[in-house]
């Protein structure tokens, strides 16, 4: 009947009226509860954002280890070199945001003033990004048309008694090439490069007479979010004469390390959530104890346990939702601070962070309310109403 329906809406309206007035009068406590929940939620949001983005970030950091992808002539064909266009096409197949660096390599033996050495023709700009761990004394060669400079490995430099700025004669009898190049930088890697001399690809082509062919290329590809094996397969398909494959030794370790870091973040988030839950619980207990008389009164005039519980849970839920909403915003801002402080880049927003924060925070708020609500329900009207 119309009257009943009016009564129903008034019941809900009354419930809400009691609810909001009750919250308004206790602004301090409400604020503190809200604040605690907000802090918990924002920490979780921040950590969760980092958690879900950290694989991408660390994956990029791990590129510091250099090349993790090899493209070269198919070993089964027995060939030692491949067209540089083919290499360029292969490199172009890597999504630009995932390619950290790449360089083709062209090798041959040359004669220097004091002995033979292995010459490597490379793309210096790509090489610098490919192998950021090179320890260079002097300077890198920065442009690819520089035909007067070379970089030398540290051991070779020592043997050949060369310092930065010295000229060195490079000779190759097969092509009749002879020129004095200036040592622009001396590089140390602790590996084979220390014994090699490096020049631009174009110059190496002239020196070695390779006719635009190179030996192979090394690439540094960000693994997170990239289907490396798929990429390799596609390259092999496009260019059947070539071998394209990831360098396993690096990807093996990467996964394990990322898992450890993520595990750490998760544990920290759980603990912080527990701390804030306890804070919320204590505040709510205080609230209940301050309202014992009010609760006793309500029970005396006929309020059911259910009604008392409903009111308290509703109050907590409202504060909880508001706290979580604020926490999500604050947390995301906090994540950016974290991201910039540690990785120097922004943390990407991921949808999954929302439920990851909401669910535990709300659950925690309700859990925090559990004990206080039990206390409220346990209030005996007779006892509290007679007290002064």
């Amino acid at each position: 009947m119309a009257e009943d329906r009016r009564a129903d809406t008034t019941q809900t309206a009354m419930f809400l009226r009691i609810l909001f007035k009750s919250l308004k009068v206790r602004k301090n406590r409400v604020f503190i509860t809200f604040f605690s929940i907000m802090i918990g939620a924002s920490i979780i949001t921040a950590l969760a954002s980092v958690y879900f983005d950290i694989s991408a970030k660390m994956s990029r950091e791990l590129r510091a280890y250099g090349a993790n992808f090899f493209v070269g002539p198919s070993a089964s064909r027995g060939e030692r070199s491949v067209e540089s266009d083919a290499i360029a096409r292969a490199i172009a197949m890597v999504p630009t945001d995932k390619l950290a660096g790449a360089s083709p390599y062209s090798y041959g033996v040359v004669r220097l003033d004091l002995g033979n050495a292995v010459l490597a023709g490379v793309d210096f700009r790509g090489l610098k990004k490919l192998s950021p761990y090179w320890q260079v004394e002097g300077k890198w060669i920065t442009v690819d048309f520089d035909e007067d400079s070379c970089m030398i490995g540290k051991t070779l430099a020592k043997k050949m008694e060369l310092k930065v700025g010295d000229p060195v004669n490079v000779m190759r009898s097969e092509t009749g090439f002879q020129k004095a190049l200036t040592v622009k930088g001396i590089a140390e890697t602790g590996q084979a490069e220390d014994e090699q001399i490096f020049v631009n690809l174009a110059l190496a082509d002239r020196i070695l007479g390779n006719n635009g062919r190179v030996n192979h290329a090394m690439l540094s590809i960000v693994t997170e979010g990239t289907d490396i094996d798929g990429l390799a397969a596609r390259m092999q398909q496009e260019m059947p004469g070539m071998d394209a494959k990831p360098i396993r030794k690096l990807s093996y370790s990467e996964g394990k390390i990322l898992d450890k870091i993520k595990g750490l973040m998760a544990i920290i988030a759980v603990i912080i959530l527990t701390v804030t839950t306890l804070c919320v619980m204590t505040t709510l207990i205080t609230v209940v104890s301050e309202r014992t008389r009010e609760i006793g009164l309500m029970k005396a005039i006929g309020a059911d346990d259910r009604e008392i519980v409903a009111q308290f849970l509703a109050e907590t839920l409202i504060i909880g939702l508001a706290g979580v909403a604020a926490g999500l915003v604050a947390g995301f801002a906090l994540a950016q601070v974290l991201g910039h402080a540690v990785f120097g880049s922004a943390i990407a927003f991921r949808m999954i962070v929302l439920p990851m924060t909401l669910v535990p925070s709300i659950l925690a708020s309700l859990l925090a309310a559990a004990l206080p609500v039990r206390m409220a329900v346990g209030i005996v009207p007779a006892k509290v109403l007679k007290e002064d």
Binding site: I39, Y107, G115, P132, L156, D194, E195, I267, I268, T282
Partner: protein
């Protein structure tokens, strides 16, 4: 009298206090655990990074320049200078011997395979998992399995002596090209002045992701025998736990003369990859020891990031806990306004009331902080074991820092409602008119 009041006041609202203390304990233990882990994480992650392989390369001080392309060396062996295998255990006797995870020697020779005359293949000799007695530990084992854990063998690893079947590993690419399988017999011919031929059994197929996949890998003893170089090795790869490079180490690398004696001591006594390298050079005669920068720098970059991440997270946790607990203290004090009114009605001055509450908070802070340290130590181990599979070392400096911070937080939380305390008029509070 003050202390009697303090005691009485303290035990009022025990349950509430217990809860407040529990919260402080929990957050203090979190902070303790985080601090411990931050301090230790560099070491832990460094250990994880060992799976990337050796970070130090030891070679003889030689005159000749190796001409190596694609892992294949074009220089004849006879002109070379070598390292004595017998000197190798000295690596585990340097100042930083604890940080030496493992080492493996190499001896390479270009050989021909029967039926593949045009093709020169590298035969690499190394230790797989060899017992190497060192001072203080007769059972010490090391080898390529320790240094390069990413080497995968399909089949079985050969024994250190090769065994009656002359066991060998075939690199995966080589095996694919020559269609080799586990159990196959191959014949190898060494060039040079006195060609020797020998048959081997392929014990396993080796995947490494590197140039070894094009080679044959045999026990060191086998290769030494084949090349007539008993007791000699060409290079040694060492895997060491190091700390990332910083200003001091870069200065030292630039020129060891540029350090004064105090700086030199500090540098020598810090496990930089360059100082460990130097110590190896000092231990073994006639060698040059160099950091493999691809691994060392890469590791340094990653470990730095992770330490930084841990520190930032610890600070965030600090602030979060601090705020949470402060608000807790605010609440617990606000609910006692009645009591405050009563005290004032009885004649207590503002500052006396202050002192009482602050002292209570300080006690809660100290107790909570202490218990938190204990719990935190336990928590550190739980985290350490579950994530890194090893215990976390406890740094004593964490204790005083933690207690100090817990007390500070508890006090700051109590200070906030202080203005409230002073504004309360006894009459209002006692008669509930607020």
């Amino acid at each position: 009298m003050f202390f009697r009041m303090l005691r009485q006041s303290f035990f009022r609202g025990r349950r509430r206090k217990a809860l407040a203390t529990a919260t402080i304990v929990l957050s203090a233990s979190l902070i303790t655990a985080l601090m411990n882990i931050s301090i230790d994480v560099g070491d832990k992650m460094s250990r994880e990074m060992k799976s990337y392989g050796a970070n130090i390369n030891v070679v003889p001080k030689s005159e000749a320049i190796p001409l190596e392309i694609g892992g294949v060396d074009y220089n004849p062996l006879k002109d070379r200078v070598f390292i004595n295998e017998a000197d190798l255990p000295k690596i585990k006797e340097i100042f930083w011997h604890i940080n030496i995870v493992g080492f493996a020697p190499f001896l390479k020779s270009a050989v021909e395979m029967a039926g593949q005359e045009k093709r020169r293949v590298n035969l690499i000799g190394t230790w797989f998992d060899k017992q190497v007695p060192i001072t203080g530990d007769n059972e010490y084992r090391t080898g390529i399995k320790v240094v390069s854990p990413y080497w995968q063998v399909q089949g079985e690893w050969p024994g250190e002596q090769g065994g009656p079947e002359n066991e060998i590993l075939a690199g995966a690419l080589l095996a694919r090209d020559l269609k080799l399988k586990t159990g196959d017999r191959i014949t190898v011919r060494t060039g040079d002045k006195t060609p020797m031929e020998e048959s081997f059994t392929v014990k396993g197929i080796l995947t490494t992701g590197g140039t070894e996949e094009n080679a044959l890998v045999a026990p060191m003893a086998t290769v030494q025998r084949l090349t007539g170089l008993a007791g000699k090795v060409q290079s040694v790869s060492v895997s060491a736990l190091t700390v990332p490079e910083d200003k001091l180490s870069r200065k030292a690398r630039h020129s060891s003369d540029s350090l004064d004696s105090a700086e030199y001591d500090r540098w020598y006594c810090t496990a930089y990859v360059s100082s460990v390298s130097l110590q190896i050079e000092e231990a073994i005669p006639n060698v040059t020891s160099r950091p493999i920068w691809q691994v060392a720098a890469g590791e340094g970059a990653v470990v730095n990031k992770i330490q930084l991440l841990m520190i930032v997270v610890t600070i965030a946790a600090f602030i979060a806990s601090g705020l949470g607990i402060s608000s807790l203290m605010v609440t617990t004090i606000m609910e006692r306004s009645r009591e405050i009114g009563l005290m004032k009605a009885l004649g207590a001055a503002d500052w006396e009331v202050f002192l009482l509450f602050l002292s209570e908070s300080a006690v809660v802070g100290v107790v909570g902080g202490l218990l938190g340290c204990v719990a935190g130590a336990g928590l550190s181990q739980v985290i350490g074991l579950s994530i890194f599979g090893s215990t976390v070392s406890f740094s004593p400096v964490v204790i005083p820092v933690n207690i100090a911070v817990s007390v500070l937080i508890a006090l700051s939380g109590s200070l906030m409602p202080s203005r409230l305390i002073t504004k309360l008029y006894p009459a209002e509070v006692l008669h509930g008119r607020r």
